[in-house]
């Protein structure tokens, strides 16, 4: 297990290093200058600015400085907000995005499991059909479309929840809903298939042959076995939530890193773009590692294979 973990962590670091390198050189190819008011600047001013941002040094040196800085959590200085380090820009906003993402994940998965399990148990009935239709719609309707609709009809017209901003819990409700629809629909579909599959397996048959009732078989044998593989979906969910947050935070005017990322893209603030990209990658890689570990902990079959490996 320890050897496996060390190997995984080594590959993780290697991956992040490669991603950082590629991002760095990509950003160097970026057209346009980082300074918004470049036209008004004199050559001397430009030189001072370049010196300040370290852009007068040869590319390889800039690269070494960048990688070296990153190891200390330093992503350079934002172009958009002068003198503000990217790292503090991100850390001020990270908590907001993490909270929104976690809320959406928990809500989506819990409701999704519930809906999917009911659909599987009532296979072929109206409950199943309804759940299936909603899951398809939830999977198909883009979250930003849903966000605008929720914001207008539930926020503005009905006035149930605030339409934008961040601070109180009620302000988190609409964005959480909009963001959770994807994972919710996906979970419901996944659990339904997984459950239907499990319900047709031999050990469920043996459970019935033991004399367990349908609900006992489901509670004791089917539920856990159909839910374990759900762990593998957490990685894809993280991706969906990260990208989803970019547009949802924008629509609801939430000060998270997704909103910052879009702003940075539109203003060519490349130290921030690189910084946020790296934060997303680190987040994703760590989440993938954690889900693998969790999977090993809850599925007895995997525990052994890893011990042997």
């Amino acid at each position: 297990m320890t050897r496996y973990l060390l190997k995984r962590i080594f590959y993780m670091i290697l991956t992040l290093f490669i991603v950082a390198t590629i991002t760095f050189f990509l950003m160097k190819l970026m057209p346009g200058s980082p300074y918004a008011n470049e036209a008004k600047m004199t050559p001397t001013q430009l030189e001072i600015m370049n010196k300040q941002y370290g852009l007068n040094k040869p590319i390889w040196e800039q690269y070494l400085i960048y990688i070296g800085g990153m190891l200390h959590g330093d992503f350079g200085t934002s172009f958009q907000y002068s003198n503000q380090p990217v790292s503090s820009l991100i850390s001020a906003r990270l908590g907001v995005s993490v909270q929104l993402g976690l809320q959406a994940l928990i809500f989506g998965v819990v409701v999704g499991v519930f809906v999917g399990a009911i659909a599987a148990m009532k296979q072929g009935t109206w409950a199943d059909s309804t759940a299936t239709v909603f899951a398809i719609i939830g999977k198909s309707v883009p979250n930003f479309v849903l966000a605008v609709i929720l914001q207008y009809y539930i926020g503005l017209k009905l006035g149930w929840f605030p339409i934008a901003g961040w601070g109180s819990f009620s302000q988190t409700i609409l964005p959480t809903l909009a963001l959770s629809v994807g994972p919710l629909a996906e979970t419901a579909r996944f659990i339904r298939t997984s459950m239907v599959d499990t319900l047709s397996s031999d050990y469920i048959e043996l459970g019935k042959a033991k004399g367990l009732s349908r609900t006992e078989v489901i509670r004791k044998h089917a539920m856990r076995n159909s839910m374990i593989p759900l762990v593998t979906l957490i990685g894809p969910y993280a991706v969906a939530l990260m990208t989803g947050s970019m547009v949802i935070e924008n629509i609801f005017n939430i000060p998270g890193i997704g909103e910052q990322f879009v702003k940075s893209i539109l203003t060519n603030d490349y130290p921030t773009i690189m910084g946020v990209t790296m934060v997303y990658c680190v987040g994703l890689v760590v989440i993938l590692l954690i889900t693998d570990i969790i999977y090993g902990l809850i599925d007895p079959r995997i525990r052994l294979t890893e011990k042997e490996a």
């Binding site: 050990y203 043996l206 042959a209 033991k210 004399g211 004791k220 044998h221 856990r224 079959r301 052994l304």
Partner: protein, 351 residues
């Protein structure tokens, strides 16, 4: 007269498939005596599994019981409520499935899986049930049982898992054990061990067994009586000796003839394939593959003709006026042996 513990009469089961209605079980009747082992032999698709599953009410969703009755303790199981069936399953009638690799819950400790029926049916506490489970594990021959009771299925070999499945089936000491090809998925050496174990446990807890197999070789050492099934019907039934040494139906001849023997170096087979049960034949279902088939075989379904008090066969060859045919050499050899056995038997009983 032995006591009938289970009596199946005129069972008919259809399956709804998108190709049409498959008539999987067509008028099957048999009974099980107390304490005996009845083997139901047939090739895959002959309906032997469906028959046993109907006994504990675990048919697939698209199965449809068209008619018949299954009597157990004066109750027709086909009409019993789901609640009643739950009380019977795993308690009075247990079942062992074919593939031990998939019949255990991969994420539950085996101790709990074995203890489950006891908790459900006998209201045992968790502690009592685990103690009994440990006892059962020892009884089915699992070494280090007290340690392994906390392990998960994947930590056991196929043979060990089948022992666990047997422990689960027998922990409530059921009156009937339905064993659906319990050794098919196992290595030959392990097969023998499992069969010995089943015989041993049968004696200890006095259960009756319906043993389903496609392997006649397994039947000889295991069963008291044998029913031969083909295309959803029983074609011949009798004691082991009746079936092995005095077979009457050409299909039984074919089955016996295709068993490997020590002194023949060719392996016979039955040509052709079983009939399509979407549109079952109206006569003897085996007729198309039967080289002894007669005109009447495809026109009318043969009734059971009595061979002896214990032995019946559904073939027109036994009808009065039917021509005498020459069965395969192996069968003729067995008939001769049977005649000798009978003579010996008569001599013994005269003395």
């Amino acid at each position: 007269m032995p006591e009938k513990i289970l009596d199946v009469k005129n069972l008919q089961i259809d399956f709804n498939t998108y190709a049409g209605e498959v008539k999987a079980i067509r008028d099957v009747s048999f009974h099980l005596n107390k304490g005996e082992t009845l083997a139901i032999v047939g090739e895959s698709g002959s309906g032997k599994s469906v028959t046993t599953r109907s006994i504990i009410g675990l048919l697939a969703k698209n199965a449809n019981v068209v008619g018949g009755e299954i009597n157990f303790h004066g109750e027709n199981l086909l009409e019993a409520s789901e609640k009643d069936m739950q009380n019977i399953r795993g308690n009075e009638i247990s079942m062992i499935f074919q593939d031990p690799m998939t019949s255990l819950d991969p994420t539950m400790k085996i101790g709990q899986q074995i203890a489950e029926p006891l908790i459900k049916h006998k209201g045992a506490s968790k502690k009592e049930a685990w103690a009994k489970a440990l006892e059962m594990m020892k009884a089915v021959g699992i070494p280090d049982a007290d340690k392994r009771i906390n392990q998960y299925p994947h930590q056991f070999s196929g043979g060990m898992r089948q022992r666990i499945v047997i422990a689960i089936a027998l922990i409530c000491e059921p009156e009937i054990l339905l064993a659906d090809e319990p050794t098919t998925a196992l290595d030959v050496t392990v097969q023998a061990e499992i069969l010995d174990l089943m015989k041993d446990l049968q004696k200890r807890i006095k259960t009756s067994i319906i043993f389903i197999t496609h392997d006649l070789g397994v039947v000889a050492g295991m069963a008291d009586r044998v029913a031969v099934m083909y295309a959803g019907e029983i074609l011949e039934y009798g004691t082991v000796d009746d079936i092995f040494f005095d077979p009457q139906h050409p299909y039984t001849w074919g089955l016996i003839n295709s068993m490997p023997t020590l002194d023949s170096d060719t392996l016979e087979s039955i040509p052709g394939t079983p009939p399509d049960l979407l549109d079952p034949p109206k006569g003897d279902p085996f007729a198309p593959r039967n080289k002894y088939a007669m005109k009447i075989d495809i026109e009318r379904k043969p009734p059971f003709f009595k061979v002896s008090d214990t032995h019946y066969a559904a073939t027109w060859l036994l009808a009065p006026g039917a021509p005498k045919v020459e069965p395969p050499l192996e069968i003729q050899r067995r008939w001769k042996k049977y005649a000798l056995m009978k003579k010996d038997h008569e001599l013994v009983s005269e003395n």
